[in-house]
């Protein structure tokens, strides 16, 4: 399965995603430069974390109007697998491929730490290797990860939630919601299920020597989905 990892100027998790895809799940990976329009025949696209174009404006706002995003929009509408991580999630929200928006974290601070997530859905190409209700650990690292959605959109978005922040027992508590996300939403898909955005970083939790390998299941789920597609 051929993965494309998008590189915007200011992306800083692109090489981390390349490392996991190439050296941990052993798949071919190709970088996708922001000014190109070709997706180079990839089977799935990863939008990595970072500060695309510096994110001096609203996060993801500039990235959204890059040539590569026009191609990714079409790829997604045609059913291609797109995973947005952290800044990648923010870009997907900005592009409208996913519903909702991000506000600054409730504490108005950047937060980098391991959090617990509850797996809400396993019927997606990104989570078929998880158990429903499974509690997993992955790190977050963001300033603007407080998920919000219009009241009209929220019920739909919530139904598409794949990961929710939780405490170590899987309960949805205030203490277990690091950034104040609405309905504890940490990651969700679009209605078709082929586009997923998440604030936690699965690529930072794909090897046991880094403290957790739970994130690897996301990439392995994508492999499985592709194999049976």
């Amino acid at each position: 399965m051929k993965f494309g990892v998008v590189v915007f100027p200011g992306s800083n998790c692109d090489q981390d995603c390349v490392h996991v895809l190439k050296d941990v799940v052993h798949q071919p990976v190709t970088p996708l430069w922001h000014q190109d329009s070709s997706l180079r025949g990839v089977d799935a696209v990863v939008l990595p974390g970072g500060f695309s174009y510096g994110d001096y404006l609203r996060t993801g706002a500039i990235a959204n109007i890059s040539p590569i995003m026009a191609s990714i929009g079409k790829f997604a509408r045609d059913g291609g697998l797109v995973l947005g991580i952290c800044n990648g999630f923010q870009i997907l929200l900005e592009s409208g491929l996913l519903p909702g928006a991000m506000l600054r974290n409730v504490g108005l601070r950047f937060i980098c730490k391991f959090v617990h997530l509850r797996v809400e859905r396993t019927d997606t190409p990104f989570t078929n290797r998880f158990q429903k209700g499974q509690i997993v650990r992955m790190p977050i690292a963001h300033n603007e990860g407080r998920y919000v959605a219009d009241p009209k959109v929220l019920p739909v978005a919530s139904a598409q939630a794949v990961f929710r922040y939780c405490d170590d027992d899987g309960r949805l508590t205030d203490a277990g919601n690091p950034n104040g996300s609405t309905e504890w939403i940490a990651g969700l898909t679009n209605q078709q299920g082929n586009v997923m955005g998440m604030m936690p970083h699965p690529e930072r939790a794909s090897e046991t020597e880094l403290g957790s390998a739970d994130g690897r299941l996301i990439f392995e789920s994508m492999l499985q989905a592709h194999a049976y597609a």
């Binding site: 100027p9 200011g10 800083n12 998790c13 090489q15 981390d16 490392h19 996991v20 050296d23 974390g49 970072g50 500060f51 174009y53 510096g54 994110d55 001096y56 601070r109 950047f110 937060i111 980098c112 730490k113 790190p139 690292a141 300033n143 170590d168 970083h201 690529e203 930072r204 090897e207 020597e209 880094l210 403290g211």
Partner: protein, 778 residues
């Protein structure tokens, strides 16, 4: 030029004044023939650049004529303490700088370079940004991060980690809270965006830093040993290319600003603080590393302190050639800039490249891909001169080596400080043992210097690049895996000002000992040292004595541990209106683990044996306990036995390699009791109690036993079946072993003096810093 006027009017009386166009001597095109009245004015301007009349005469002699204004500025900044090390140079020669792993030693390039095997090398260096952070904490700290990162990737190394060593006044002071907040946010905003993880460091609070905080940043980079880039200009006729952000008036005179003490008027020096752009830096990292990969770059240097001035004359001097540039070609973000301003600007995120002739178009295109401007501004010349032209007009022409290498060296007077004799006197009889030692421990754990720092390091992205194997606070040192190898790189910083105040030589030894010990605790062999020497004004003979002693102590320890100094930074003039800071050498140590997984500080399992390595003496001088509980900064700091210390640093990696070591944590601030407490609570997911027979440790007063800071001690844990092996190996290393007790349960018991629920121990430690930050008015 309204903007020029505005910029100048904001500079203080103390700042070097950029010459005003109206009345300054003009720079003639044939060189240099100012009128007589102009010479008097030139001398005055020279004086405002800290160039003494004697130095001015030397400059005239060197040039064979009167200098131009631009030249005065250039000499002023290159001869500043910050750039020339004019007061410290004679002492820094004492440092051991060679070693079998040292590929680039101190002063040769932008940072030191150490071989770590597998064809890889580590570039690392620590630098201060104290003054900027004192007047503009956010931008000051941010550009401190940016500057040290550039030093590392300039060598062709990818920056893989940052550590920060921070010192502030007590958090009861509103300004100290403001500074802490701004500095942490500055580090976070820059480091997080640029994608280099901030993996470690330390933060301490003491009244000595109230006016003048310390912000020292260490960066580590990884490079293939054969692909090191050099900061020397080579090849006559090769083009000199300016790369990165455009040049503005920001940071004008920053190096000079760093070379004088802070005063009430320093607020007005804010224009001397640069503004950082981490996005530009991130692009600069990627583009520069890509450019170096082409093999077309023959020399490279970043524009840090003294900007274009320093980078041109240093690359020329290193290459034993000349460099000629035309400043009209320098991209600018402001109009009407004078040659003086262009040459002295410290605008951030700029580099100077010397490229193979004919390859400039390809290199310029490569930078354009990353949205960065790259412009040919000059060429390498054979005459050894740094020549600055403004179009056809020559505005400066100085022998490059005279500027870069022949800066004046001052043999400043030294005098043993008058406070010392009194300060070193400490009769323990005058220090009452607290009645409730439980309470004393809780107080220590909650004190901001000792308390949990997660509210700070959680604001830093410490995991990007996916190498962080030991999370901040979980081990005595940061540990990074090196992908594609079975090696791990460890790094730690340390430095205690109080020890330095009471005995600077011992303070220097202790700083190296503790940083190296921290690295050994994670199972790594300490390899090399970088140092950031933070002191008061070198013009004060007592400060110079502290400096001299401190360097002596550091040198002794580095020799004893076989950890050469590969580079660093001297920061003088750390003084406020009240006094100089305590002498604070901050030592960064890197170490290598070859094979086994790194060791954390936290106890791992119920029933594990808890062992103390090293001896506990009745040493309370300079301790956190004495300061916090008895409000005294007195006595002599603990003595370091350098031979035993080294034996300890050898034993720990050995125990790790034999898979005996389950945890290791050194006894430092707050002594044995605090160390044991931290071992029990630092892993929030596995808190453990401990039952220890504290009386077995030594026959000394209980406060010294529990909270004294005797050096060379580490608390380790292992399975009980390995106790015998630990004893054997320790004996072979000449180290004493005390089996203290067992981990487990929910009580924290150091019989017969301390007995607490481990949750209470945890609560005190975790709430200490957040509570202190909420005290007083915002």
């Amino acid at each position: 030029m309204p903007s020029a006027t505005l910029s100048r009017s904001r500079l203080t009386r103390r700042a070097p004044k950029p010459p005003s166009h109206g009345r300054a001597p003009t720079e003639s095109s044939n060189g240099h023939s100012p009128a007589k009245t102009d010479i008097a004015l030139l001398k005055k301007i020279a004086a405002s650049h800290n160039l003494t009349p004697e130095l001015y005469q030397e400059i005239v002699k060197l040039l064979g004529r009167q200098p131009t204004l631009t030249e005065v500025g250039i000499f002023g900044v290159m001869y500043s303490e910050h750039c020339s090390y004019c007061s410290s140079k004679p002492y820094l020669k004492q440092f051991p700088t060679k070693g079998k792993r040292v590929l680039v030693s101190a002063g040769e390039e932008n940072a030191g370079l150490v071989d770590i095997g597998d064809g890889l090398a580590v570039a690392f260096k620590i630098e201060s940004h104290n003054h900027p952070s004192a007047v503009e904490p956010h931008a000051g700290a941010a550009t401190g991060v940016g500057g040290i990162i550039r030093d590392i990737f300039t060598m062709g190394a990818r920056p893989i980690a940052l550590l920060d060593s921070l010192r502030f006044g007590p958090l009861t002071d509103a300004r100290s809270r403001f500074l802490l907040h701004g500095v942490v946010k500055g580090i976070a905003d820059y480091g997080n965006a640029v994608g280099v993880p901030t993996v470690g460091g330390e933060v301490q609070f003491d009244a000595s830093y109230q006016d003048n905080p310390l912000v020292n940043v260490m960066c580590i980079g990884l490079v293939k040993a054969k692909e090191i880039a050099r900061a020397a200009a080579k090849g006559i006729g090769n083009p000199v290319i300016y790369v990165g952000s455009s040049t503005g008036r920001d940071g004008l005179g920053g190096a000079s600003f760093a070379s004088r003490e802070l005063t009430d008027e320093s607020e007005a020096d804010r224009p001397a603080v640069q503004i950082g752009d981490p996005f530009a830096e991130k692009c600069l990292i990627e583009a520069t590393l890509e450019a170096l990969d082409t093999g077309d770059v023959v020399g490279i240097q970043d524009m840090g302190a003294a900007g274009l001035t320093c980078s041109t004359c240093e690359t020329a001097a290193r290459g034993n050639v000349g460099v000629e540039i035309d400043i009209l070609k320098v991209p600018r973000r402001e109009t009407g800039m004078t040659p003086y301003e262009v040459m002295l600007s410290e605008s951030q995120e700029r580099m100077l490249l010397i490229v193979k002739k004919g390859r400039e178009a390809a290199i310029i295109k490569l930078f354009a891909k990353w949205g960065l401007s790259a412009v040919t501004i000059g060429r390498v010349t054979p005459d050894g001169k740094m020549r600055v032209k403004e179009g056809e007009k020559t505005v400066a022409e100085i022998p490059a080596r005279a500027l870069a290498d022949n800066a004046p060296v001052f043999n400043r007077p030294v005098k043993r400080p008058s406070y010392l004799a009194k300060a070193q006197k400490l009769s323990l009889k005058s220090v009452p043992v607290p009645k409730d030692l439980n309470q004393t421990l809780l107080q220590l754990l909650a004190s901001p210097t000792i308390a949990d720092k997660s509210s700070i390091f959680e604001q830093y992205d410490h995991m990007v690049q996916t190498n962080t194997a030991v999370l901040p606070g979980r081990g005595d040192a940061a540990v990074l895996r090196i992908k594609g190898t079975n090696r791990w790189l460890a790094a730690a910083t340390d430095g205690t000002g109080r020890y330095g105040y009471l005995d600077p030589a011992e303070g220097g030894r202790l700083a190296v000992a503790e940083a190296a010990r921290n690295v050994a605790c994670v199972g790594a062999v300490p390899l090399a040292v970088t140092d950031c020497l933070n002191f008061g004004s070198p013009q004060d003979p007592e400060v110079m004595w502290q400096f001299k002693e401190s360097v002596k102590g550091i040198s002794e320890a580095c020799r004893a541990f076989n950890t050469p100094v590969t580079g660093g930074n001297v920061s003088f003039y750390n003084e406020g209106p009240r006094a100089a800071i305590d002498p604070t050498p901050v030592i960064g140590v890197i170490g290598l683990i070859d094979g086994p997984a790194p060791v954390s500080s936290a106890f791992q399992a119920e029933g594990d044996a808890i062992i103390l390595l090293g001896e506990t003496r009745e040493e309370l001088g300079g301790s956190e306990y004495l300061s916090l509980i008895h409000h005294r900064k007195a006595g002599r700091p603990p003595r370091v036995d350098l031979a035993k210390e080294r034996a300890l640093h050898e034993l720990l990696p050995l125990l790790a390699r034999e898979a005996i070591l389950r945890s290791a944590h050194d006894c430092s601030d707050g002594g044995l009791a605090v160390a044991l407490a931290e071992c029990c609570i630092i892993n929030p997911e596995r808190r453990l109690g401990v039952r220890v027979d504290a009386q077995a440790v030594a026959k000394i007063r209980p406060d010294a036993l529990l909270f004294g800071e005797s050096a060379g001690r580490v608390v380790i844990s292992c399975e009980p079946r390995h106790i015998g092996r630990v004893r054997d190996l320790a004996a072979r290393h000449g180290l004493s072993v005390t089996v203290l007790g067992r981990a487990g349960g929910s009580r924290f018991t150091l019989a017969p003096w301390i007995d607490l629920h481990v949750d209470d121990v945890n609560a005190a430690w975790r709430s200490g810093l957040p509570a202190a930050l909420q005290t007083g008015p915002e």
